[in-house]
């Protein structure tokens, strides 16, 4: 591939992810509004929010690591997007593969954890402790799912995993071939988004919004950007593993938004689990489904 073309892709991929991510935030809010019989925000509200937060006059910093943490939270996702193929663009997906992508997606969480840590607020620290515990909960079923998919495809290369599904048509989609893994993956993905009933680390009534307790202005804005990327990355990853990726931008976006709509709709209907209940749930159902799913694959 021509270097110029690659550079354009590396710039475009995160940019697209950001824009689509913002629209996903909008969708999430609209769904919440529908379920709560409200009107919901206007189309450009997510963008307004980010601009507003970054433009605020009062910006409170708790120190260098607080700042760097936010930079890492945004930067990690920007990098991760270049490993996630979209229609017509593969970026450097072939140079990393899915295991690298999963680990790269932990960098933003690490950045956030460091940044929150320096805020010297126990509410934030408890939030991070809970968030890491949640990660321990949902990542176990998630890696089982990833193992199953990668083993069935015989590769960790996402480009090939998508290409195989597209070449064989609907019957070769991951979700059709490996329905148990697809269900387990959906549950794990829901938990990884940190939405209700799994929002144990935000828990406004218990720990004053946890990681966000000392975040305002551009700090909160950075987290907002991180969330948009997170919604995008999670749903696109799911589409790539189970729904054959996208041949055109239209079906790619359609699938991604639909997949995301499932956990988001569920989220606004349920209250919050306790930490240990989240662990119990994740280690029981999706793990069991995933392991049975793998047994079918092997």
């Amino acid at each position: 591939m021509a270097p110029l073309e690659l550079i354009i892709e590396l710039v475009l991929m995160p940019l697209v992810a950001f824009i689509v991510g913002l629209m996903m935030v909008l969708m999430m809010r609209r769904i919440a509004a529908k379920l709560q019989r409200r009107v919901g925000p206007p189309f450009f509200q997510p963008l307004y929010d980010i601009v507003k937060l970054h433009g605020k006059r009062t910006q409170v910093s708790h120190g260098m690591i607080h700042d760097i943490g936010i930079v890492m939270a945004m930067g990690g996702y920007i990098a991760a997007e270049t490993l996630l193929p979209v229609p017509g663009m593969n970026g450097i997906a072939e140079k990393g593969g899915i295991i690298t992508l999963l680990y790269l997606m932990m960098i933003p969480s690490l950045g956030l954890a460091l940044g929150v840590g320096q805020c010297a607020n126990p509410n934030g620290s408890i939030g991070i402790a809970r968030a890491l515990t949640a990660m321990l909960a949902y990542d176990i079923p998630l890696v089982i799912v990833v193992f199953g998919v990668a083993y069935a495809a015989g590769t960790t290369n996402l480009v090939e995993i998508i290409a195989t599904q597209q070449a064989g048509g609907f019957e070769t989609w991951g979700a059709v071939q490996m329905p148990l893994l697809a269900i387990a993956g959906l549950i794990a993905m829901h938990a990884s988004l940190g939405k209700q009933p799994f929002e144990i680390y935000i828990a406004p009534a218990e720990i004053a919004t946890g990681p966000m307790v000392e975040m305002g202005g551009k700090y909160l804005g950075g987290l907002f950007v991180m969330q948009s990327f997170q919604l995008y990355t999670t749903s696109v990853l799911y589409v790539s593993l189970f729904l054959g990726g996208g041949t055109t931008w239209f079906d790619f976006l359609l699938k991604s938004f639909l997949v995301l709509a499932i956990p988001v709709s569920i989220a606004y209907l349920f209250p919050r689990y306790r930490t240990e209940d989240l662990l119990r749930l994740m280690w029981k159902w999706p793990v069991m489904l995933g392991l049975i799913g793998i047994a079918f694959v092997m």
């Binding site: 920007i78 690298t100 551009k218």
Partner: protein, 625 residues
């Protein structure tokens, strides 16, 4: 007689011991020893062709003992482990010889003994690594055990008790190894590697089983494999700071070296795989792999519960050994490369982590995770080193630990081992939780009043730490550098070699190129920084200017979350910590006590006629039958 390069290296190492012994009470002894380690390292680098597939270098020293030939030589395997040994010795000794040493002396520590013990450790490790037959291997093994004991025991008190426990385990291991060697000798008629290689192919299954069990138990004790892991964490944690950095980096890897040499090179993974366990679907190789993953999981989750930074790190050291063994017993090109690469990577970040924690102890006097906090503003460089180290330990990009773990994961995936794969990832996730607690409780959160005026660690300690941090990052960016050495080790022990590049590994089933991954990661950070810093300027506030639910915070209010850090997790898994292995150890101990009491009873009775009678009967029986 001309000296070979190996003779030269061993000679320098011996000289280092002598200098530490006789000149060690002079003031600049630390520096002298450090320089001598540097010379040893240079002498090792002269053998660098070994790391790129060169021919083995023999020593001119050959001994004949009771018809047995004892010889020493260096091949790619020895060279790779010796490089890690000397590198960590040089940096640990450098770290020790400045301000740390003065403080240690003031506190009543014996600096002379410390340097002597370090030099002895390095010397004995080199002897072990150079062994050219099973007998010289055993001699080297014993030397390493006792040298390690000296370093662990020197702090006195708790340390001596931990060291006694270690040496008890080590002696049991030595017995097992000795038994194994005797068995080998009976069947092969020689202790030379070549003779053993031919003998193995004719061995029966029960014979081979016995050997595999004896050797893996014996060598596994040194590595801290389950269920022989209990001695390691307290012993390493109680060793004086730079000593624990050195031991944590390389000491228990001697067990892995021996496993590689005996189980992988001499016996061969294929032969081990042919040992089926009756009535189950698994064989001896699977058994070793499962021991490896249990060694990953249990010590990692024990580490998570520690409240002392050094104990926490030492427990992780045990767990990381599991990844190395796991990669080796999977034994395909990628897995073995991952396991071997992890030896190097682990040595770099574990040494850096122990050094950073020792720097904190140097300034604050404690490593209790509930008595620290907020130190990042006082010791930013130490924070950075610890951060680099924990990212390596947790195995996240962009540090080197990621590459070796990635290789291990990939091999488990290629070989279709889902349960081992998931178990290995559980270990990594547990590590992430545990190391965040480490960095949070020391460097993040609220700075205590009593720590408001402390300074960054002195430069004599800082420079080795920074060098290590740089190595961790560079070998993460360019894993091809150590992978070249690893590849020649794989060739030397008869394993297949992965198709490595400067930035990672090429493979039809998914490649890795760290140069690109890290490139985009830092580009991402750059864009993130651009967005962040171009927004409104932020104002730095005092740490007490904080949300406290409407209360005012004052300096005397402790506003920090550190104890029982993963409370929610412990609600679920807290009850699973049963201390079963401690119970097992205790029951073995009381069994031995009971038996010795019985023996003592017989002995104390001192009934001469009875002894005479029974001896006579025994002799008669012997003669008649």
């Amino acid at each position: 007689m001309t000296l070979t390069l190996l003779d030269e290296l061993l000679l320098f190492s011996g000289v280092t011991v002598l200098v530490a012994l006789f000149l060690g009470r002079r003031l600049p002894a630390g520096w002298m020893v450090t320089i001598l380690y540097g010379i040893q390292l240079l002498s090792l680098l002269k053998m660098a062709p070994l790391g790129y597939g060169g021919d083995p270098i023999p020593s001119t020293l050959i001994l004949e003992v009771m018809g047995q030939t004892l010889s020493w030589r260096f091949d790619a395997l020895s060279w790779y482990f010796a490089l890690i040994t000397l590198g960590s010795a040089l940096l640990s000794s450098w770290y020790a010889c400045g301000e740390w040493e003065q403080r240690f002396r003031q506190a009543g520590g014996n600096v002379w003994l410390f340097h002597l013990a370090m030099a002895l450790n390095v010397f004995s490790m080199l002897i072990l690594l150079a062994s050219g037959d099973l007998l010289s291997l055993f001699i080297g093994w014993e030397l390493v055990s006792w040298a390690g004991f000296l370093l662990m025991a020197m702090a006195g008190g708790v340390a001596t008790r931990a060291a006694m426990r270690y040496i008890t385990y080590a002696m049991v291991g030595a017995m097992a190894i000795f038994g194994g060697i005797a068995l080998v000798y009976v069947s092969a008629g020689s202790l030379q590697y070549d003779a053993i290689l031919t003998a193995v192919s004719q061995m029966g299954t029960p014979h081979l089983w016995m050997l595999v069990i004896l050797f893996s138990a014996g060598f596994g004790i040194k590595m801290g494999l389950m269920p022989f892991h209990l001695w390691q964490a307290p012993a390493y944690a109680e060793t004086p700071g730079p000593g624990s950095a050195f031991l944590g980096a390389i000491s228990s890897r001697m067990g892995l070296f021996a496993i590689l040499l005996v189980l992988v090179k001499l016996f061969g993974i294929v032969n081990i795989e042919s040992l089926k366990i009756p009535f189950t679907l698994i064989d001896a190789r699977d058994l070793l792999a499962w021991i490896a993953v249990f060694t990953i999981i249990f010590p990692t989750f024990t580490a998570m519960k520690q409240n002392d930074a050094r104990e926490l790190l030492a427990w992780h050291g045990i767990g990381q050994g599991g990844y190395m063994l796991l990669g080796l017993v999977v034994a395909d090109a990628m897995g073995a490369a991952g396991g071997l690469l992890h030896v190097f990577n682990h040595a770099t970040y574990q040494a850096a982590l122990f050094m950073a924690v020792t720097a904190v102890i140097h300034r604050t006097g404690t490593s209790d995770l509930n008595k620290l906090g907020g130190l990042v503003v006082r010791m930013p460089l130490s924070f950075m080193v610890l951060l680099v180290g924990i990212i390596g330990l947790a195995g996240l990009p962009p540090m080197n630990g990621f590459v070796s773990k990635w290789l291990v994961y990939r091999s488990l995936l290629n070989e279709g081992m889902p349960l081992l794969f998931v178990a290995a990832v559980i270990g990594t996730l547990g590590t992430i939780l545990s190391v965040y607690k480490l960095i949070h409780n020391i460097f993040l959160g609220q700075l205590r009043v009593e720590h408001e005026h402390i300074k960054e660690a002195p430069w004599s300690m800082m420079i080795p730490m920074l060098i290590l941090a740089a190595i961790i990052f560079i070998t993460g960016l360019l894993p091809g550098i150590p992978l070249a050495w690893v590849a020649s080790v794989q060739e030397a022990v008869g394993l297949s070699v992965p198709n490595y590049t400067l930035g990672g590994v090429e493979s039809a089933s998914g490649s890795l190129d760290m140069i690109w991954v890290i490139g985009v990661l830092f580009a991402g950070f750059g864009i993130g920084a651009l967005v962040f810093y171009s927004a409104g300027k932020s104002k730095r506030v005092h740490q007490l200017d904080n949300y406290a639910g409407g209360h005012f915070l004052t300096a005397d209010i402790r506003y920090q979350y550190s104890d029982n850090f993963y409370a929610g997790l412990m609600h679920l898994i807290g009850g699973w910590y049963r201390g079963s292995f401690l119970w097992l150890e205790k029951s073995v101990k009381s069994l031995v006590e009971f038996l010795s009491l019985g023996m003592q009873g017989i002995y104390r009775r001192a009934n001469a006629e009875f002894y005479l009678l029974s001896t006579a009967l025994f002799v008669i029986a012997w003669v008649v039958i």
